[in-house]
C-alpha cells in the first residue's frame, strides 16, 4: 500500500473492531433486556396456568 494512504488509514483499521464491538454491544444490551422481559412473560404465563389449575381443583373440591 502507498505509505501516504497507509498513514491516512492508520487510525481506521485499528478502530474497526472497537466500532463494530460498540454497535454490537449496544444491541446486545438492549436484546438482553428484551430476553429478560420474554422470560418474565413466560413465567407469568406459567403462573397463570398454575393459578387456573389451583382454582379448578378448588372448585372441584367445593362441589364434592
Amino acid at each position: 500500500m502507498d505509505p501516504i494512504l497507509a498513514e491516512v488509514y492508520s487510525t481506521v483499521l485499528p478502530a474497526a473492531p472497537f466500532v463494530i464491538a460498540a454497535y454490537v454491544g449496544i444491541w446486545i444490551a438492549l436484546f438482553a433486556y428484551v430476553f429478560v422481559l420474554s422470560r418474565r412473560a413466560k413465567r407469568t404465563r406459567e403462573d397463570i396456568d398454575a393459578l387456573r389449575e389451583a382454582l379448578k381443583s378448588r372448585e372441584d373440591r367445593l362441589k364434592e
Binding site: 502507498d2 501516504i4 494512504l5 498513514e7 491516512v8 488509514y9 492508520s10 487510525t11 481506521v12 485499528p14 478502530a15 474497526a16 472497537f18 466500532v19 464491538a21 460498540a22 454497535y23 454491544g25 449496544i26 446486545i28 444490551a29 438492549l30 438482553a32 433486556y33 428484551v34 422481559l37 418474565r40 412473560a41 413465567r43 407469568t44 403462573d47 397463570i48 393459578l51 389451583a54
Partner: protein
C-alpha cells in the same frame, strides 16, 4: 401530598390491551428499528469521517485532497449519544412517575416508575459499553475518572442501588415509598451528568449538544435519525415492559390472596377442632360431677359433697377460665379474618 395514607391498589397499572397505545407501541418499535437501521447504514456509507492528526504530506483520495488522518472511531458517536440521551429521557419519566406515586399513592405509578428504571438501566449499560470501547481506542485506557464518565458511572450505580433497595424491602407500601424517593434523588445526577462537560471546562469529553456544533447535514441527519430511533425504541420497550410487569404483579397479588385464603382456612379448621376438644372436656367434667351428687347419703354430706364437687368443679372451671380468655377471642378474630377474606 397524602404522606400517611396507605398505598392504593393499582387503578391503571395494567395497560389496556389492543387499544390505540398498543398499536402505537408496535408502530413505535418498527419505526425506531427502521430509523436506527437507516442511521447505521448512513453512518458507514454517506457520513464523512472526522479528520484527525495532520499527515506528513497531503494525499489525493478519490479526487479530494486529504491532509489529515481519518477517524473511524468517531462513528460510535452516531449511536452512543442517542442511547445516552434515551437513558436520560426514560429516567426523567421514572422520576416523574415516582413523584406522581408520592402524590397519589397509586401503585400503578410505582409500577411505571420501576419499569422505566429497568429500561433506564438497559440503556445505561448500552451507553457504558459503547462509551468504554471509544475510550479504550481514543484515550488508550478502559477507564478514566473524567467528570462525564464519573457522573454517568454514579448514575449507573444509583440505578442499580434502586433495584437493590427494591429487593431489600418486603413491605410493598414502604418499598414503593422509599424507592420513589430514591428514584427522585437519583435523577438529580442525570442533569448533572448531562451538563458536566459545560460545568467543568477542563473536561476532555466532547460537548455534543451545542448551538455552534457546525455538524454538516450529512453528519447531522444520521445523528438525528439515531436519536429519534432510540427514543421510539425506548418508548416501545417501556410500554412492553410495563405490560409484562403489570401482568406479573397481578399474578403475584393473586397468588398472595390465594395463600392467605388457604392460611385462613387451615386456621379455621384448627379452631373448629379445638372447639370440639373443649366441648368434649366440658362433657367429661359434667360426667364426673354427676356420680358425686348421686353418691351423697344426706343433706349435710350432700352439702359437703356438693361443696367438694363444687371445689372440684371450681378447679375445673378455674382451669377452664384460665384457658378461656386466651382462646376465647381467637374464634372471633378468625371469624373476623374470614369475614374480611
Amino acid at each position: 401530598m397524602a404522606a400517611d395514607s396507605p398505598v392504593r391498589a393499582s387503578s391503571g397499572g395494567s395497560p389496556a390491551r389492543g387499544g390505540l397505545i398498543d398499536r402505537l407501541t408496535f408502530a413505535a418499535l418498527v419505526l425506531g428499528v427502521l430509523l436506527t437501521a437507516i442511521d447505521v447504514v448512513w453512518t458507514f456509507t454517506l457520513a464523512p469521517m472526522v479528520q484527525g492528526a495532520e499527515l506528513s504530506e497531503p494525499a489525493i483520495i478519490g479526487g479530494t485532497q486529504v491532509t489529515t488522518k481519518l477517524l473511524l472511531s468517531q462513528k460510535i458517536f452516531y449511536l452512543h449519544v442517542p442511547v445516552a440521551v434515551a437513558s436520560f429521557v426514560v429516567m426523567f419519566f421514572a422520576a416523574l412517575w415516582a413523584v406522581r406515586f408520592l402524590m397519589t399513592k397509586d401503585r400503578a405509578f410505582d409500577l411505571r416508575s420501576k419499569t422505566a428504571m429497568e429500561v433506564t438501566l438497559a440503556f445505561i449499560v448500552a451507553t457504558m459499553i459503547s462509551g468504554d470501547l471509544w475510550t479504550r481506542f481514543e484515550w488508550g485506557v478502559w477507564w478514566v475518572w473524567e467528570p462525564r464518565l464519573t457522573t454517568y458511572f454514579i448514575l449507573m450505580l444509583l440505578v442499580i442501588g434502586y433495584f437493590i433497595l427494591r429487593n431489600a424491602l418486603d413491605d410493598p407500601e414502604r418499598r414503593a415509598r422509599f424507592c420513589a424517593v430514591f428514584c427522585v434523588v437519583a435523577f438529580i445526577d442525570a442533569p448533572i451528568s448531562f451538563m458536566i462537560t459545560r460545568l467543568v471546562p477542563s473536561s476532555i469529553h466532547p460537548v455534543v449538544f451545542r448551538t455552534d456544533s457546525g455538524l454538516p447535514p450529512m453528519m447531522l441527519i444520521p445523528f438525528l435519525l439515531g436519536l429519534f430511533g432510540m427514543l421510539f425504541i425506548a418508548f416501545a420497550l417501556t410500554r412492553l415492559a410495563l405490560r409484562i410487569n403489570a401482568d406479573a404483579q397481578e399474578v403475584e397479588d393473586l397468588k398472595e390472596r390465594l395463600e392467605e385464603q388457604d392460611a385462613w382456612k387451615s386456621r379455621a379448621a384448627a379452631d373448629a377442632a379445638f372447639e370440639r376438644l373443649r366441648a368434649g372436656a366440658r362433657e367429661a367434667v359434667a360426667a364426673d360431677e354427676a356420680p358425686a351428687r348421686a353418691d351423697s347419703p344426706d343433706a349435710s354430706t350432700t352439702g359437703a359433697a356438693t361443696g367438694a364437687a363444687a371445689d372440684g368443679a371450681g378447679v375445673s372451671t378455674t382451669a377452664h377460665a384460665e384457658v378461656a380468655p386466651a382462646d376465647s377471642e381467637s374464634p372471633d378474630t378468625h371469624l373476623d379474618s374470614s369475614q374480611e377474606a
